[in-house]
Each structure stands twice: as structure tokens, then as C-alpha cells.
Symmetry: C2
Amino acid sequence: MMSHPLAVGIDLGGTNLKGAVVTSDAAVLRRHAIPTNLERGPVAVVEDMEHLVDGLLKQVGAERSSLAGVGVAAPGPLSPTSGRILRTANLPGWVDVPLRDLVVERIGRPVFLENDGNAAAFGEFTAALRAGEAAEDLVMFTLGTGVGCGVILGRRILHGHFENAAELGHMIVAVDGLPCPCGQRGCLERYSSAGAVARRVAAALENGEASRLAGTGGTGRTLDAELVIEAARAGDALCKRIWDEACAYLALACINVQHAYNPARIILGGGMARAGAFLVGQVLGHVERRRWRLCDDLPAITLGRLGYDAGVVGAAALCFGDPPANPGTA
Amino acid sequence: MMSHPLAVGIDLGGTNLKGAVVTSDAAVLRRHAIPTNLERGPVAVVEDMEHLVDGLLKQVGAERSSLAGVGVAAPGPLSPTSGRILRTANLPGWVDVPLRDLVVERIGRPVFLENDGNAAAFGEFTAALRAGEAAEDLVMFTLGTGVGCGVILGRRILHGHFENAAELGHMIVAVDGLPCPCGQRGCLERYSSAGAVARRVAAALENGEASRLAGTGGTGRTLDAELVIEAARAGDALCKRIWDEACAYLALACINVQHAYNPARIILGGGMARAGAFLVGQVLGHVERRRWRLCDDLPAITLGRLGYDAGVVGAAALCFGDPPANPGTA
């Protein structure tokens, strides 16, 4: 570990391929992102990863041999054990892809594959440890196109028997609710993701509901969560309602997480978390109104400290093995 | 461990105080139950426990000194670490009771305190191991007066940061649903417990709904889940509806458990599980209609093998330390 103080974390998304050189202290030295070129297939994307890694290493004046490894965060379902992407909604055609071995072949260093929600949680966990905070048990929601999730229990990523634990974007929060491409109805990510917020406002506009966003394009193409949040803050009734529902379902999910894992903390990250206190405040308000009173075991609900770096930091941290003991919490 | 091949498991319920002498192989040698005399307070109940233990030991011709320990399962919230019952809905007036130490003082053997839902899950886990089944990761619902729950991950009981994990009877399954004494609305146990099923039918009868149970007493006093199940099986429309809703919400909870922990198995136990295939079949039907299609990570959903012994066997098993390695699953 001492002889390999650096790792590269890669976050393979449907839109962007993000990379960062990260120290064993979870500090990001350099980051870079390029568009993900899915149409060219896995082998071509792995070539892009190789260029990304080499470009980042060049920027920090390091060689591949100085890398503890390369961590790759990707959308699930995947198997960290076998290093294979099984199938994923965001990467059509990628079925049973041995991504880890493909990257090993190109890079020649140890490679770790992890679910992107898990990687982000592990990144925030690592950062919290570095900051001397208690972080043994935490749950993170990454509120982006969908809702990613990762669960750290006893300082380890929870994988479960089928290696697919913590898929809480598909927690059913509304019985017979909105249909989800996964086949279920009422999944959390149909309500509480940046994608869902924009989509639901667009659908309401198409139905002729009044809103200051009506002029910005009713097709949903130009609408994003940021616009909705801005309009909600400015008092737009439609946007306020959709945003409030997003926060209410997320609060309900936080309560269910409380009862399921009883973690010390729940961290909110991803694009929707850029709303900052406007998100956390409303979620906490709903939690306060809906939580149980049997005992005071409510986790702290906060923003993450890594922002968009959570995934790449977490992916890189996988390469350093167990994080060192947290002196703050024995 | 070899020198103490026996333990006593005690299940402290609001109605009954159950005890059993259990071998380190999870076999029940003797069991006995007496009414729980809550009004007399913790010290008197601990006296009853002492008599229960001594009576059981006498029946198997053993001495207290031959006990590896006494395991006590009790309703939460409680702290296994400090051995204290913090507060519990079913035992009014029992607030911050150092139950473990009270029992140690009377019995003079090691005592372990555990949440009753966790103990039942640990009992089924131990029994599954003995049967050579894969059981590292399992979740158990105990469907009784309320819904108890226990989660075994990596062969250990999940406790969480506040020692209150796996309280999934209070998973919110219906937004703004039926009020729960815990302070929340729409808790699983408001729909999918034996108590809820009887209560909901009684309420419908009071509202004048037609049912073959109308004659058996509309106040809910003589109604129990067994009667409802019998009537539902015989085609009674009201009972069928309430039973089906109980199974539907339980199915939803199973799907959320799948995504949360990704266990190999979900075990259904407690009084409602006496409906057997009538319960499991309907739950599986709802799961099949509502589950996701992204990957095949659905846990097996089955009845337990211990029936009402799950709690006492699990409580006793706590006294034997880690269960031995399961030869069937490396």
C-alpha cells in the first residue's frame, strides 16, 4: 500500500466517463470526464478508459506501475466478485460483460468493479473516516437520473447473497404507483430522482397545468431538476408540489432505512443534492412529521462532502483495501 | 462449550413467558410456558423466569451449572450490549430496565438479552445451518400481534448503530395509511400481522359490512386471525379482501427486503404463518406480479421450520457463541 499511494477511480455512466487520480488519503489530485461512447461497445469504452487513466497519470507525473489499482464504478446489476456487468438499464446491449478483466488486460494493474451507488457510499464513508467522523454504518442515496444507493455496515459495503443489496432506488414507496422500467410500480426513483422531478413536471405541463415553466418547453427536453428547483423556490405551485412529493417520498425512504439498517447517518448526494438546504430541510421536515416516537434512533440526514467526486473517490478507495482504523471511534 | 451443552431460551411476551431447554445442536429438550405477570413488575417477572428455568432443568435432570447460559428474547427497543429494555409498547411501565443483570443476579449464569424478532431469526438461522442449508443471509418476519423482524447478514444478527435494526414491522408500506401507536402511519404491522387482520375485520363488521363472521361478535373480542383465515378460505368476501391485503403488503415488504439486503431467504413465522401454504402462496403470487425484472435476485420465501420455538431456540443459541461453520456452504 505504501509503495502504491495512488489509485484511479472511474465512474462509468450512461452519459459521462469520469476519472480521477486519488491518493490513499482520499484526496483527488486530478479529475477528467469524457462522453461515454456506448454505441462502440465495451471494448471501445475500455480503450477510452485506458486513455483516461494514462492522461490522468501524465498530468500528475506518475506511471501505471505506481497505481495500487483502478476502481470502476458502474450501474448495476453487476457482480463485484466475478467482475462482470450482468445487465444495466443505462447501458443497453451490455449483457454479461467481463468488464474487470477487459480493463485488467489493457491496464495491467489490479482492477475492482463496484456498483456505482455502492462506490459513492464508500467514497463518502472514506471521506468521513478521514475527517474523523463516526461512519461505520451509513447509507447514501445518489439522486441523479435515477436513485442509486449504497449501504456501509460495520465499515464494509453491503453486497448481499446475490451481490445486489442496497438497490433502494427500487424500494416500493407507493403501492400501485408510477410504473418503472424495472417492472415494478411505485419505485422511489420514480419520484425522488432529479430525472423524475423533471419528467413529472414535464408531464404535468403537457397536461396543461399552469406553471412559470410552461414557456420553457412542455416536452421535457429542456426541463431539468435545476429549473424545477429554481421555480419551486420562486413559489411556482406545480414545481413546489412535485418537489415536495419528491422530498416526502425520500423522507419515507429515510424512515424505512432507519428501521432496516439503523445507521448512524444517511447521506444525500447526486445532482438533486445541489439544492442543498432546500432538499435537506424539506426532507427533514417530512421525516419529523412521519417518524416514530418509540425511541430516538433517527440517523443524521446530511449532504455528502464529496459532491460529484463520491463515485470516483469510492472506486479508487476500493484499491487500498480496508480503510485504516478510524481513531475517532475506536 | 462442550462442557455446557445446554442453554435455556426464554421468550418474554406480553401474554406468555415461554422457556425451553435447548442443546447446542438446536434441539428442544423441554418447553414450558406460563402467563406473563406484567403488573407485578420486572423483579417479579424475573422471579418467574428463575422458577421457569429451574422447573425445566429439573425435567431434564440438569443443574444450573450445566447451562452455557440463559438467553432472553424480549420486545424492543432494547440494548443487547447493555442488557437493558429501553421501552416497549407491549410491556407498559417497563422503561430502562436492566433485565440482563436482574436475571444474572437470580440465575448466576451468563445471560444474553436480544430483541424477540432477532432471536426468532437467529433461531431459524441456527436450525437452517443444522439442516445443512445456506443461511448466511436471511430475513425473518414474525407475524403475530405485531410484525417482528430479524436480519441475519454474514451469519450475524444485524443490530445497527442504535442497536435497533430490522424493525421492519414499522416499515412504511402505505403513505398516509393506518395510524400506528408508534407514531407513524401505514406501518407494515398495521396490515400484515395476525392482530391487524383480526382488528381490520372487526372494524369492518362494526361498520356493518357483510360477512359470515358477523354473528361471531362484531366487537373484535372473539375474532382472531385464525377465524378470518378460515372464513377467507371458505370464500367470505370481507375476510378474503382483508387477508389478500395483508398478503399484498407483506409481498411489498418482501420486495423491499430483497432490494435492501438481497438475502438468500425470507422466512415467514409467527401465528399468521399457521395458515401455511394459504399465506405463502398468496404472498408469492403478489411478489410475482409486483417484482422487478432487472435480474433474478429474488430470495426464497418460505415458512420457518421451528414454529413457535423460533424465539426460544434463537435465544438459547446466543449462549453458544458463533454457530459452527456450515459445511454445506464453505
